[in-house]
């Protein structure tokens, strides 16, 4: 595990701080589908993805999910360590979407670094700002875009992430990403199929017309 390659502030740390990180960070492996961090886990610390793909989502009291963003290699998860920054009053859940390898920096270690180093603290600011921007974009989508357009945009994004137009995903999983009910997804996908935008088979969605889906994603103002 070469932390120096992944942490942009590595060269700005003192030798002592680097030693602390090397000593305390531990590597964890997660199989596809495993829970990496749950609200009830408390404060897991900073997660640094070195391989694979994680999904970060919110879970309502009623069990409804909404995907906030994905973390790919080199991405860092801050909200898995809510105790590290005062005033973080929300929980996110993190699960492995692919087999993943993660470096975990314990919360007290990262907190110490933030207190000692303005560089680490400003990096944390940038990280939080970046996730905040993702969530604000999502808020705009949820408020102002119709669900058909959000579904079309999601399918296109999935195709890009997987590098394939054959998506192995259930209607239930799609509903969790979009924060809606499975029935809504099923109804919309059937409409898409009738318009020859997708082809549905069991547990599978094939994208037939990227152009058509893009048009829908762009023009579905609420």
């Amino acid at each position: 595990m070469v932390l120096g390659e992944y942490l942009p502030f590595w060269n700005k740390l003192t030798e002592k701080q680097r030693m602390l990180l090397k000593e305390k960070a531990r590597e964890a492996k997660f199989e596809k589908g495993m829970l990496v961090h749950g609200g009830a886990d408390g404060c897991s610390g900073l997660l640094l993805v070195t391989a694979g793909q994680l999904r970060v989502f919110m879970l309502s009291d009623e069990g409804r999910e909404l995907t906030l963003y994905r973390l790919l290699e080199r991405d860092i998860c801050l909200f898995s360590g809510p105790c590290m920054v005062k005033n973080i009053q929300f929980d996110v859940t993190v699960e492995a979407e692919q087999d993943s390898v993660v470096s975990v920096i314990p919360p007290e270690v990262y907190k110490t670094l933030m207190e000692q180093s303005a560089v680490v603290s400003n990096f944390t600011n940038e990280l939080m700002a970046s996730r905040f921007s993702d969530v604000m974009w999502l808020m705009d989508q949820v408020l102002n875009k119709k669900m058909d357009g959000r579904l079309a945009a999601f399918l296109l994004e999935e195709g890009r992430l997987n590098g394939s137009s054959e998506l192995s995903i259930t209607h239930e999983q799609i509903a969790h990403h979009l924060g809606t009910a499975r029935e809504v997804v099923t109804r919309l996908l059937r409409l898409f199929q009738a318009d020859h935008l997708v082809k549905l088979t069991r547990g599978n969605v094939e994208l037939l017309s990227e152009e058509g889906l893009e048009l829908l994603a762009a023009n579905s103002l609420r």
Copy 2:
């Protein structure tokens, strides 16, 4: 203008840093209804409310508003200075909801302080975390609460902010707070009136039953 009273990190600054703040911060007054910061203004800097009340909202491309949070005396607005933190990729609009007095710290001054001082930078983290928590709460509301419950909660909150059960507010203004259309608000308010929860007069909403509104706010899962 006594910055030391309002900035919690004041005592952790060097004499030179305090002088810089005193020299560069300027006081600005805004009458009720005036725009304090708009997306097009670019980077106004850090806003420190010393009197009055500001409303921070997002404005969609289609002109729909959604109130994100309010800033009261002693509150600080970070997102009026998006250039101060890398990766802030969204705009908020800030308007004076009451006659207000604001201390404006220029973005380059605050940025310098964050780079020099881990204390200032960590304060910024906490500030951002606090707003992020507000927005995550709001996202949960938007996704999981029905509009009638959100309207009831909003009316109660307004009553508390104003210390009165007589709200001088139009249906259009309420719609802007909640990110919905005026017609939706009007229809719901009429239903509330039929249930003796409110009394409607021109430009006015009187709250008749706090208990009834609270019940509605608590039980309106989507």
